[in-house]
């Protein structure tokens, strides 16, 4: 079973890298980009075949390692 985790900075946490990308897009002539937020995608290959159990396991992985919940939030896609 496959799982995909999206990790993003929480709303309200300034994303200096996203801001830099926004400025660079402006420099390239892409006007009208009001905001850029940069995150990461983590793909997992799981031995688990039960979607519910897989989700619970990945959630624990996010809480313990994959995301720093002080500044980041995460979304999990299963399958």
């Amino acid at each position: 079973m496959k799982a995909r985790v999206h990790v993003m900075l929480k709303a309200g946490v300034l994303d200096p890298q996203g801001e830099a990308v926004r400025h660079a897009l402006g420099t390239l002539g892409f006007s009208g980009v009001d905001g850029v937020r940069q995150g990461k995608v983590i793909d997992l290959e799981l031995a688990e075949t039960d979607a519910q159990k897989a989700r619970a396991a990945v959630e624990e992985m996010c809480e313990k390692l994959l995301a720093n919940t002080v500044i980041e939030r995460y979304d999990i896609e299963i399958g």
Binding site: L14, P16, Q17, A20, L66, N68, V70, I71
Partner: protein, 224 residues
């Protein structure tokens, strides 16, 4: 003072930190402890986590090191009231391990900054800072890409109210909240700081402002 310096793959200030600790003397030289160890040497007064790029800063700075076998032992040591010092990447490890609140984000200007900066000693109420004068202005080198301290408003208020900000930048280089350069745990025995006191601890460095921190620790740990 009996101390240990933790070594992760990618640590690069471990020997400097050990030398700074050895310079203030104590019960034998600082022991270097590899991260795969599951326990700390017996009878330690201080555990020091050095700067560097543990595990190549993969995932997040300090994230993998904070889940290393030795870190479990460090957390237990701190919970028993042991003193822990984290410098630079060591500070990042301490926040990732949950021993200090908040997080260290990418510098606001997105640049790796390597230079000496001005700091104000915000509290002398700790074994680390007792040797400084209250409000003393000192200079220490910084060398980091992710030193932009952040925490939610409640946490920041709690740190300020309890006088847990140990060092503050006099001219904020990285965007950190409240100009914070270093903070203490609630029991004041865990210190995380981005500046490098070990790089300003002997006359050959051209600056000995950092030596005071190590001297303070040695004095605090000296048998009564």
């Amino acid at each position: 003072m009996k101390s240990a310096v933790i070594q992760f793959p990618g640590s690069n200030c471990d020997r400097d930190l050990a030398m700074a600790l050895n310079r203030v003397g104590g019960a034998g030289p600082a022991q270097i402890v590899w991260h795969k160890e599951t326990s700390l040497p017996a009878g330690l007064d201080l555990v020091a986590i050095p700067g560097g790029f543990s595990f190549g800063d993969y995932l997040r700075c300090g994230a993998i090191a904070a889940r290393s076998p030795i870190t479990r032992a460090i957390v237990a040591f701190a919970k028993r009231g042991g003193h822990v010092l984290g410098v630079c990447n060591g500070f990042q490890v301490l926040t990732e391990a949950g021993l200090l609140p908040g997080a260290l984000m990418r510098n606001a200007n997105l640049k790796y900054i390597c230079r000496t900066v001005g700091l104000r000693v915000d509290t002398t109420d700790s074994a680390f800072t007792a040797g400084y004068a209250p409000g003393q202005e000192i200079a220490l080198p910084i060398a980091h890409h992710d030193g932009n301290y952040t925490a939610d408003a409640d946490t920041l208020a709690r740190l300020e109210d309890a006088g847990r900000v140990a060092f503050r930048y006099t001219d904020n280089p990285n965007g950190s909240a409240g100009d914070i350069a270093g903070i203490l745990s609630a029991n004041r025995r865990v210190l995380g700081m981005m500046p490098h006191p070990e790089r300003a601890s002997e006359t050959a460095h051209g600056n000995t402002d950092g030596a005071v921190l190590f001297r303070s620790l040695a004095d605090a740990m000296a048998p009564a």
